[in-house]
Symmetry: C2
Subunit: 445 residues, 2 copies
């Protein structure tokens, strides 16, 4: 078998890179759980019927069938999920009788899209989603809660692992829509769609689209564009919108809701959130707050965490399930940082210690030392061969393992970085905390 | 949308069940890492070419293709992996220049097989594999190591979570093959294949197969069957084999290797391993030790953890990669225990505390309390509605959350099980350790 080539769009990690990913996922999970979100996993496949409900995404689905499926075999119309929202909607409907609402769940799983691979686009990638789903109703304060949980997660990744800091851009659909209505516009979705291109094409081109394609007057179009330029770190956006002299009840609602999110974020994660009134989010199921998030200094990666409020995640005819959620694109976030070595692990194995082996006859002695260390939570491995000690030290060195143990339970331990070797007892010796587990090293050091 | 029905063969868990699975995976991961195994994940898809190399499994593969694949599009010949060994072989070849050998890796991932669903058979299930892969050579002592790591894992699951104890049945292909050769048999694989049916059809039927189908003499067939009946908890199997009066060099090697495994297990995990000389393992790539594992009292589930030694996991022409590995069937192990409630979680959410809300105007006070608790690692959630306290307590009760907090950071905390309510400060109050995280409860209590 010749050496296989990587498959474009299906990134895989080397062991040391995977350690960084694991450290990230551990912090993500811990933060979600601290906020009371329960984990679920859903099957990788959904029926094509539920996957193709959102027309535009149809073409990106991977279809799955048994190689030797019999003709007419049922269960053949399956596809891999392309996000974790469609599966959540199905899971909630299927299990509603067994769930407590509001249902707070997180889900960290791979998803698949048959997109053309390019930088930042993958065919297989990992997402970490939180959603809060109500039965028939869901209080507005969850619109404040969901982005704060994600910002706290990103802040921990920044503080504990050295990932770049995040900046979340937040808007509220009611604010935009209420503003457009206050201007007398009926097809507000059409305006939103054009304003969504603001970052790509700039204000002048948007104004043109609004006047030429939608027939808005120059004055009305200018107001829409002026709204989109408002971006503030505090609730001063409220005053700036008011200055535009547009009024509607829905606008008031939106302003109030967005101010609440911004003010709460200023207390809990200061400096990480802005009110950015041009944020629209393409998918049309959002009905309230919408979020997008960039890594500071890595804005070119696009949004690494997005979401919002949707008033009808699912409905079974009798009951509806409104929700608010936000998704973190772990692969999109990590791959560029890992590929450039801007995040790395201090070693490629979990082991903190290699227990050297004198001769193959005394391997059981080394195994006893290892068992004593493991019994106290110290990861270690026994050297695979009773080589000369120099070779056994190199075995540790090549893997970045900091310590080599010589002799029995009462033996000696060498820090191979400094060369210091001291007498030690495997029943009590403990490595410095910084050495116990592989560490994540930021900044390519 | 009508309520969706579960998809046969694709089991999903409710949040409380998922907590049990997470607790199990955490212990599995921790134990593997204590032994120096590094985590990798491989993509869900492999080329059909590499998946269909083992002829017999072909029919169980799920093929994957883009819904709107263009005719002749490459990358279309993909299937979902049906185990974690084929991906490992490919990963090792692809990354051999970046790996350190012996390469110790663990992998906990879903796999897919298009099998007919039945009890204990799933179309999507989770496996946890460890393998040690050498470059050109791999020392025999790893044959002892791999099963001991898995037994230690199962012993921790038994001791810490209350899963049933495991019993591993071990044999060595060299022992059986050497024995058959000592009897003058040439097609030893054919004998092994028939002996593999011992548990299903019994000794008499196996004898018949050996004489009728393979033309062995009654005496030779009887020896083969006698060998298969030997099952001992210590190395006394060596004497019992010797008594059969068969000799060959390969037999000696096999006896010695198996005795080493058994003796090491008696020290490290006493009472959990037997030498069972009828164990054959159908797949023909094993070349040395082979393992099967049952849960005591749940033998009907079949083997929940199997593996062995293979001398050629992969080869690129220049180098070969021998390995030894063992796989734990997490879904097969857990689903029956979860379905009967023999394993359950003490609550359905991670939260240890619900922070009650007085009025919607003081929700920020409750948020401050929650932040103080989370800052010290206590999972909590703020009540979704400023209902009457009785309703907020019922919110906690329905989820199994043991504590409700009233008032501000200097407030009161109620243990809703006992009804005890005491003054407490959110900056210092700590729940009893047993309440901090959801616990796994065994035995359906």
């Amino acid at each position: 078998m010749a050496r296989p080539k990587p498959l474009s769009g299906f990134p895989e990690l080397l062991p040391a890179q995977r350690m960084v990913e694991q450290a990230v996922i551990d912090i993500v999970r811990e933060t979600f759980e601290l906020h009371g979100f329960a984990s679920i996993e859903t099957r990788a496949v959904e029926t094509m019927d539920s996957l193709t409900r959102k027309g535009e995404i149809t073409k990106e689905v991977y279809v799955v069938r048994r190689l030797h499926a019999e003709p007419g075999e049922t269960g053949d119309d399956l596809g891999l999920h392309f996000d974790l929202t469609v599966p959540l909607a199905r899971y909630v409907l299927e299990n509603s009788g067994h769930l407590q609402f509001p249902f707070r769940r997180y889900q960290i799983q791979k998803v698949w899209r048959g997109e053309r691979p390019q930088e930042g686009r993958y065919r297989e990638f990992t997402q970490a989603d939180i959603d809060i789903v109500g039965e028939n109703t869901l209080a507005d304060h969850h619109d404040v809660e969901a982005p704060l949980v994600m910002l706290e997660t990103l802040e921990r990744l920044h503080g504990q692992l050295g990932l770049p800091p995040a900046r979340m851009h937040v808007n509220n659909r009611k604010l935009s829509e209420g503003f457009y209505r206050g201007l007398g516009i009926e097809d507000t979705a059409a305006v939103l769609q054009r304003v969504d291109k603001f970052d790509k094409i700039g204000p002048d081109a948007v104004t043109e689209l609004l006047t030429d394609e939608l027939g808005l007057s120059g004055q009305v179009a200018a107001k829409c564009v002026e709204l989109a330029t408002i971006c503030t770190e505090d609730d001063s956006f409220v005053g700036r919108v008011r200055e535009l002299g547009v009024h509607s009840e829905m606008l008031d609602e939106g302003l109030d809701a967005l101010a609440q999110v911004i003010n709460a974020a200023r207390i809990q994660v200061p400096g990480r959130m802005v009110a950015d009134l041009k944020i629209a989010r393409g998918l049309d199921y959002y009905t309230g707050t919408v979020y997008e998030t960039v890594l500071v200094g890595y804005e070119r990666l696009g949004s690494i965490s997005s979401g919002g409020r949707y008033d009808s995640l699912a409905t079974d005819g009798k009951r509806s399930y409104p929700g608010v959620g936000i998704s973190l694109g772990l692969t999109r976030l990590l791959m560029p940082l890992l590929a450039r070595g801007e995040l790395a692990a201090s070693r490629s194995v979990p082991s903190c210690v290699v227990v050297a082996v004198d001769t193959e006859q005394t391997r059981t002695t080394a195994m006893r030392v290892a068992a004593a260390l493991r019994g106290r939570g110290i990861a270690c491995e026994v050297a695979p061969k009773a080589d000369k000690y120099g070779k056994q030290i190199r075995y540790a060195d090549r893997r970045g393992i900091p310590y080599v143990w010589f002799g029995g339970v009462s033996g000696e331990v060498k820090d191979i970085r400094s060369g210091d070797q001291v007498a030690a007892d495997a029943r009590v010796w403990t490595p410095p905390k910084a050495d116990a587990r592989p560490r994540v090293i930021a900044g390519g050091q």
